[in-house]
Symmetry: C3
Subunit: 471 residues, 3 copies
């Protein structure tokens, strides 16, 4: 594995470019990590004594990148310890789960998951055995031993990683107890909540009415119509903001932002409360609410993030058996040009709005997102998302976005991960990819070395802070 | 031309990567050829005395890659000897056809056709004259002389090419007489049929009712309604399987897999028998039948191949005058995510199904196909198809598919060709492209040299065998 | 800045490829410029004494590439001197505008605008100060001094640039007075009009009825129904042709080319005259008229250019305040395969038609445009348009088009610019990008050096002349 951790990894082999990439990278490799969007559980950091669990807890059971690949090659999710929705039996022997993973680690050759895990083992754990079936048990032993040490507790790792700020993602109905505990603990680590109201805004969410009840309880507003719904959301936004939140986050299957009249919105909302939604209600209401969320962001200054274009829970069998977020969300083609127009025509020229867009449809980088972000003052483009948080994904993003929008209309990097331990590896991939891309520009005399150095700093540190108003 | 046949052809010029590519390639260059999908006429191999005809028969008249380009630049199809549907007069002097081709061979600069033909002439015929108008007649003489030799008969070439297995593509109504003759001849070459029922499944096929009659005759089932249609198809599948078939193949303009009720299917089928189809019948029936074909594959184990997204016979004048497959099929954007969902929700988790997907819409590689194949156990991705069976097509495929799906959810390579003689050149392009891509991963320390060697073997040999259950 | 003007700029750093690129480039760097499509004002060349104005007139105020980026980062259009539609006050101090531009020139790092401006300052003005806020005033002084010199008058630059022919773009209702003055002046520069009838053909154009009145006046045909409309258009085409025009140019939001009956066309046209258009009228009429324009081109031989797929004036606030062409036109996904079929089925096989297609949807290069152009004799593909007139845009175009269509179904380069001064820089980027791409083919032994030299000549000079019938 040693050869994989070359200090020149991911750089172009051409010597001129490689030397420049090395130089670019050296300037940014040790900058603090700005993590404005992710899914780390605040619980891990709220409790000083929290641990990361077993190697299977750490790298397999919660990671849909990992188990989706193993599942695609015929392994049962149960055999990987993924919990069933009905509480049915799954593998509990974490050594066996680990063995299965190591037996099939070759599946991850050439994938970001392969890169991250290889990097994590070597860089964080100083473990250099190749991940193979034969090495599975010794690897488990070494990992388990380290994970038991105090320096592998999440807070110590947070400090070791030099995380300057980490934003979690939290339901509108989350009381933010862990965040409150975190603040109360006096620990210096900066961990902020993010307001994600999907489960109350998207009427077709499983358990939507229960979510509305929770929203009433938490906001102190009795939500019984559209007016009180809006009021409750504004209440929660204010609470999140008071708890340090700088942003909101929104999912939507399609991009549509057409506002309804208040009357129409109320009619749809009340139908949903009565459990009588029409087939088109959910889509129309989400479209309307994205428009409304832009209005609220314009007013309260929370940065609005939009992650559209995923058909969630594509595989019904997996959804029924294991629930959501099990690696079965599949992207769709998206029309940002028409879909965002109503919102942008009202708020896109307003300097108070900051709207950060993500995509799973790379064809929109050059065709729609860069042209939009290179014009509307409210827009910034988020980094390559999900399947595209990868070396090729980054290269395509740079090549297709920057010529039209420049780097200053992008939002730098965020790791968007549930896997706390993978944060440094993910940032390192971005830093190396950025360094290598800039080296290519310098080597071809497209930007000067001086400019490239500034750009490297912005891409890996400055832009993320400014985009999320974290300065 | 000599410079074009450098042993380093198609490799990146950067010395580190090139040296690695050379090494990767050396390990796979001489592996046997696995050809699980193609359009070689079984007639050529059924008869030991069959020949490949004249140079024009070999390289021009049947090759739509060739004559489409010549046509696009103003040459008449008739002047290239392409037969007319009405039997009208076309050029019969093959030397003249050859001259016209050589006069315009410059049009193929930078195209796969240019690469294949250059390779074929040099590697198979040991002919090194550049293809130009001035050299046309000497080239014709040299080629004709060789083509007359016994070692240029198809069976000898099959052996020389080291073809381990070659699958043809055969209509559901094909009696497979050539395949029977082949088996009876005692020749050791492994040539298998593939079941392609498009002409009976797609109601809008020209001559559909005649095809149904033929289906009745061959299956021994009197097809007069949907039930007997299904029965006849199952009968033919069983026959193909008995004749060695391992797979089926399906075209469809759009990807839709929504099943009808048996009653609805019957109503549509009977309308078609009466010649009274409604405008939407064909699309709905094809959608239903793709679902049904997945069911049958789940039951009989034949690997299902789906090649969608081509608007066939775009140019009506060419279709009327020359018929189908004349280079005028033009791709469309395709929605696999929604279109395959009904099928995948019923059969996608079933280990008995193997569904291999092809595309002419490269935007779906990263957005839809790799995410689907990296999750559903039934899926594998076929290699770049048709216009994308090219160096850049392969590079984009590797770069967009592997990070999400890995290489083990792909089906390796197949040549998909009518041009028997081009088989080795096409595999060689894939082997070199694979070697070069892997060299890039090694040079950037993304995979180890050891892993890359295994990957090269799989990509050029192992995966195709396993994907098509040829082991 | 000196390092940016390396003689090797934009070439791959790998020494083998770079040496070949240098050699390819040397063969074409000094060829005359063929400019068959652009938006230079003929006024500039009609009057021998015309000047280019101040540095802000030259590089900022009229250039939507420039002010869109500055606007996206929060600068007001008024502060950049962009004129308001209502004549309201905007910045008039060109030194202040220039200062703002220089203060923010870093936004253009890695963009084509950054490249062009850097090149223009150094190559045309021999100015080598970096564009920064600190250097703004000295830069202004140096530029203003040069711009006042006779050798910076447009005609002298035209000659210095070695422009062999330059086509402007002119409304159907333009009397071509500047073109007439140009011809009358006896100057040898070849400047030709292009017939662009969008503002009379697209019924939803602001001021359409006034345009129709102007059409009546200029054509001498009283346009009061569809028949006289057609007659007037034919009249104007004949006039443009007589004034040297070789081409027409057409925009359309979507690609549709379905002809209406003459009666239907007349009904729609008359509804529009009465100001009673139905919501679908404009789209249907444009679709019909594209078909009709192909008919007329088949008859009169004017090359037809089609630039579809842009949602014009996406930002209503900007449109209301500043009018059209203000950097707020945003691309859409386009379906050429279905959309062009009606037109191609009637005229696509006709050698009298030459239809040059442009796109802002790069996904269509490989999927639709190259397959269409590699088949239909009437088609050629225009170079990368607008946001894709860039190094990466060109590389993607070469990589996605040529394998299927070859280079001989492309139309070479055109600069499509309003910015007269940027013409040489834009051609130089194309020449370098072509040279570098060809060098890559030679270095990988895909084409021979001899062939690549011919291809370089064609790509940078020959193809444009032949595509536009300028020989």
């Amino acid at each position: 594995m040693a050869e994989l951790l070359s200090p020149d990894r991911y750089f172009d082999p051409e010597p001129t470019q490689r030397a420049l990439a090395r130089e670019m990278y050296a300037g940014v490799a040790n900058l603090p990590l700005v993590c404005p969007h992710g899914h780390v559980e605040p619980r891990l950091l709220a409790d000083e004594q929290a641990t990361l669990g077993t190697p299977a807890d750490l790298l397999i059971i919660p990671d849909h990148y990992v188990f989706r690949m193993l599942y695609s090659q015929g392994m049962a999710m149960e055999d990987l310890g993924v919990p069933r929705a009905d509480g049915g039996q799954v593998e509990r022997d974490h050594r066996k789960i680990w063995q299965r993973f190591c037996d099939h680690f070759y599946l991850f050759r050439g994938t970001p998951t392969g890169i991250w895990i290889t990097d994590e083992l070597a860089t964080l754990f100083d473990i250099h055995l190749p991940v193979t079936g034969a090495n599975a048990q010794p690897l488990y032993d070494q990992l388990a031993e380290k994970l038991a040490m105090p320096e592998f507790r999440p807070r110590r790792l947070f400090e070791r990683f030099k995380v300057e700020v980490l934003c979690t993602t939290d339901a509108a109905t989350d009381p933010l107890l862990h965040h409150q505990a975190l603040r109360a603990s006096g620990w210096a680590g900066k961990v902020l909540p993010t307001f994600r109201p999907d489960a109350v805004v998207n009427l077709d969410t499983a358990g939507w009415r229960e979510n509305i009840s929770a929203l009433s309880t938490l906001s102190g507003v009795d939500v019984h119509n559209y007016a009180t719904f809006t009021q409750a959301l504004e209440e929660r936004r204010a609470f999140f903001k008071q708890m340090g939140a700088v942003a909101t986050d929104h999912a939507a299957q399609m991009v549509a932002t057409l506002p309804l009249s208040t009357h129409e919105a109320d009619v749809i909302f009340q139908r949903a409360l009565r459990g009588e939604s029409l087939p088109t209600d959910a889509a129309n209401f989400t479209s309307h609410m994205l428009f409304e969320m832009a209005r609220m962001s314009t007013e309260d200054g929370l940065v609005m993030q939009l992650h559209p274009g995923s058909l969630r829970n594509h595989n019904e069998l997996i959804f029924d058996r294991f629930g959501r977020d099990k690696g079965a969300d599949i992207p769709l083609a998206v029309d940002y040009t028409r879909g965002l127009r109503p919102l942008l025509n009202v708020y896109g020229n307003d300097p108070r709005l900051r709207l950060i867009l993500f995509t799973l449809d790379e064809t929109t980088y050059g065709r729609e997102l860069a042209p939009l972000a290179g014009h509307y003052p409210a827009l910034r483009l988020g980094p390559p998302w999900w399947f595209y948080d990868s070396l090729n994904g980054m290269q395509r993003y740079f090549d297709q976005v920057v010529e039209t929008a420049g780097i200053y209309n992008t939002a730098g990097f965020n790791d968007d991960t549930r896997a706390f331990l993978s944060i440094p590896a993910r940032h390192d991939v971005w830093r190396r990819a950025s360094a290598n891309w800039l080296a290519g520009l310098v080597a071809r005399h497209i930007v000067s070395l001086t400019d490239a150095r500034e750009m490297a700093y912005e891409m890996t540190y400055g832009l993320a802070k400014r985009a999320y108003r974290l300065e």
